[in-house]
């Protein structure tokens, strides 16, 4: 245990801090959004140029081309959080497709897609889940039938976030109907403007449509758009699902949310008493703070493991389960501490934090379910982590 940083790393931290201070004008107004606007695209280009986004992606593919250095990546994350500056884009194209292409994509696919994706010029959506294939993703039925040089794709996908804004989709389809369940799937890329695609917004309990349903009717896609080989799609997708799960339990984001909750409880008053002075509420806050700390230090442990190349083991397997639940609990306490005010949702004179606590509480329940449900996570922890036997397969139910 030695958490001190070397002088070189401290200097790097100063460099990031200096950059953020000098460029406050670029991001002060907020630049995020699922369909990047011009200001956001410019910010992203600047970040790539500085090496604060797409840091380890080779220059040839439009990245910054640095050697992987987890510590610097972490310093960047910490300083951006501290400054309240938006990080580089973290959409599904960047966090899931790009690593996949780097791992198994053809040279042509890498050259064509990685650069524009990193710069935010091409927005992707992910076509994995189907109405009949959720936790049992490998049972997916969207079929791709060979027709000359092409596939003809029919079926439907669900939980497709940003499908309405996306230019492209990376999609799992069944290309080998006679092969075993996991061996008949291919990972394929095609434009969302291809004839035969219909996108229907899927409104959730938050009141907005964070997801979509996507319907494919005889969508013609060239076979050359398959990534990683025909019938290899399950393995290609699995390589990147772990990136998604890591992203869903990010302790930096959780810590930032806890700070907002503490501020809320220090400033809001009921009957003249600060919310934090209510012993029950304070006790709940301290319980959550301990959990946030534990996950933060767990993150440092994972960081060390990845720096030394040791397997992260159990400490890594629990992140999605614990991180998503913790975010949800933080939002729950904010609502409870606010009391009646906690139920307000539409803009008005009494609304706090733009209703974001309720929104988070509802949306985060979706994150507990999405990306591998809590129950699937427990199966993974038990089977891969504790070597407990799998549930015996039944012939039919």
């Amino acid at each position: 245990m030695d958490l001190k940083l070397t002088p070189q790393m401290e200097a790097f931290r100063e460099e990031v801090r200096g950059f953020l201070a000098a460029h406050r004008d670029h991001y002060a107004g907020g630049v995020a959004g699922s369909r990047p606007r011009e200001a956001a695209l410019e910010w992203q280009r600047l970040l790539i140029e500085q090496g604060y986004a797409a840091r380890t992606i080779p220059k040839a593919y439009g990245g910054y081309g640095a050697e992987p250095d987890i510590l610097k990546t972490r310093i960047i994350a910490e300083e951006f959080t501290r400054a309240g500056a938006p990080r580089g884009f973290a959409n599904q194209g960047i966090s899931m497709l790009v690593p996949t292409l780097l791992e198994v994509g053809s040279e042509e696919q890498k050259t064509r897609w990685i650069g524009p994706t990193l710069r935010g010029e091409v927005v992707w959506c992910q076509g994995y889940s189907e109405p009949g294939a959720g936790s049992d993703l490998a049972s997916l039925q969207t079929k791709a039938v060979e027709d000359g040089e092409d596939f003809i794709i029919s079926g439907s996908k669900i939980w497709t976030s940003t499908a309405a804004q996306a230019d492209m989709i990376f999609c799992l389809v069944r290309t080998e109907p006679d092969a075993a369940k996991h061996d008949g799937i291919s990972y394929i890329l095609f434009p969302m403007t291809t004839p035969g695609i219909e996108v229907r917004p899927l409104k959730t309990m938050t009141g907005s449509a964070e997801f979509n349903e996507v319907f494919f009717t005889d969508v013609r896609v060239p076979q050359s758009a398959v990534v990683g080989g025909r019938g290899r799609g399950w393995f290609v997708a699995n390589a990147t699902l772990k990136h998604e799960r890591g992203m869903l339990g990010d302790p930096n984001a959780t810590e930032a949310r806890l700070h907002s909750l503490i501020e809320l409880m220090k400033t809001e008053r009921v009957d003249g008493e600060r919310l934090i002075d209510n012993p029950v509420m304070c006790d709940r806050l301290m319980q959550l703070q301990a959990r946030v700390m534990a996950m933060k230090f767990n993150g440092l442990r994972l960081l060390t493991a990845s720096m030394t190349g040791e397997p992260a083991g159990m400490a890594g397997l629990v992140v999605k389960l614990q991180g998503c639940e913790l975010n949800h609990q933080i939002a729950a306490l904010a609502i409870d501490a606010l009391g009646e005010l906690g139920v307000l949702y539409e803009d008005g004179p009494h609304l706090r934090a733009k209703g974001s606590w309720q929104w988070n509480y509802m949306f985060d329940l979706g994150l507990i379910i999405g990306g591998g449900t809590a129950q699937i996570q427990k199966n993974i922890i038990a089977e891969r982590g504790l070597a407990l036997p799998r549930e015996p397969k039944l012939a039919s139910v």
Partner: protein, 361 residues
């Protein structure tokens, strides 16, 4: 930046675990727990031989000079083995009090004897940390102590006591001092005897370190109790998982049922982050003093909550066998139960955690 245990630290922990397996297997623990006359002298001698008694004592006084992280790793191994006899007070808090608040003369007189395992020191700080009950509390006046202290570690066998008075001052009292009487307090956990010590104008020497030393004892105590629970809870999970892989019902091992499998997954998902929290609290004690009190409080309170969940869940995974004396799982259950309450239960510690960081008055 390195958030991990060094190979040397791991080696020390594994070597201690082997020593404990040799000298203090479950049968030895049972004998200790079942016989009040058994003082565990053989176990303590072996642990002194290992160096445990001098773990945090500077080398100039015959110790190993380790930091609190070393002590926490030892506590984890002791909790895992439900090891009987002195450790928290005798091997860590008492020498720490002397190190932080003792004069050169006091250090020179006692630290070598403690390191050599010749002197067992009891620690009486419960009232100042967990609150005073049943009229307990000690006052100091004119070099004499009066009053009573509860939940004193190793009270019946101690040769020496470190005592906190109501003003937060620390004192050193010889076990044979005039007006000192002791009696046992029998808790659920028979592996670590506690007692009540009454002082009637008992001569004492002040340890002049003041409030800072008492707070440090509290932080170290919280961290080590958390580490003990960490070790004990991990063993309970290991035993539950092993049992779930062997025990068959309905023609299958019960670990293949998701109802059982998920209990196991929930236990380890809760415990694994505690490991990082305990490591950090112990590290902070020596290397990041600004964060030490808060992280110690959270380590204590949170690991106690997780420990309780694991103690009952691991017992449930064992079915009816889990609650039998024969299986002996209850030694770990009770160890975790004592760790939770000693030096303050989670609710009290969390209230202090809010005060420590200035969130509440």
């Amino acid at each position: 930046m390195d958030f991990s245990i060094t190979p040397d630290q791991r080696l020390m922990q594994e070597s201690l675990a082997r020593t404990l397996a040799d000298v203090s297997g479950l049968e030895r623990v049972r004998r200790f727990a079942g016989d009040p006359a058994d003082k565990g002298a053989d176990v303590y001698a072996a642990l002194a031989d290992f160096g445990l008694t001098g773990l945090i004592i500077p080398e100039e006084y015959g110790g190993l000079g380790l930091g609190l992280l070393g002590a926490a790793l030892a506590a984890e191994a002791l909790g895992a083995a439900v090891a009987p006899g002195p450790f928290l007070g005798a091997c860590v808090l008492a020498p720490l009090a002397l190190r932080l608040a003792g004069s050169k003369a006091q250090q020179g007189e006692w630290l070598p004897k403690i390191a050599a395992g010749q002197v067992v020191a009891g620690v009486a700080i419960a009232e100042q940390v967990a609150g005073a009950r049943d009229g307990a509390g000690v006052t100091a006046s004119g070099g004499k102590l009066t009053g009573k202290a509860l939940f004193v570690t190793d009270a019946l066998i101690a040769d020496l006591f470190i005592v906190a008075d109501q003003a937060g001052g620390l004192h050193l009292v010889r076990g044979d001092a005039a007006g000192l009487t002791r009696s046992a307090m029998i808790s659920i956990d028979l592996t670590r005897p506690l007692g009540e010590v009454v002082f009637a104008a008992t001569p004492a020497e002040p340890l002049d370190g003041g409030d800072g030393a008492l707070a440090a004892l509290r932080d170290a105590g919280w961290t080590l109790l958390a580490a003990d629970t960490l070790g004990a809870a991990q063993v309970m999970i290991d035993k539950a998982v092993d049992y779930a892989k062997e025990r068959r019902q309905f023609g299958r091992v019960i670990g293949s049922f998701q109802a059982v499998k998920h209990m196991c997954a929930e236990m380890i998902a809760e415990l694994e982050p505690c490991r990082s929290l305990v490591w950090y609290a112990a590290y902070a004690f020596d290397d990041a003093p600004d964060e030490a009190s808060l992280t110690a409080a959270h380590a204590k309170a949170h690991t106690s909550e997780v420990g309780r969940f694991i103690a009952r869940t691991a017992t449930e995974v064992h079915g009816g066998m889990g609650i039998t004396d024969l299986l002996g799982l209850h030694f770990w259950f009770k160890r975790i139960g004592l760790n939770r309450q000693l030096l303050g239960g989670p609710e009290r510690v969390r209230r202090l955690a809010a005060q420590i960081q200035g969130l509440t008055a």
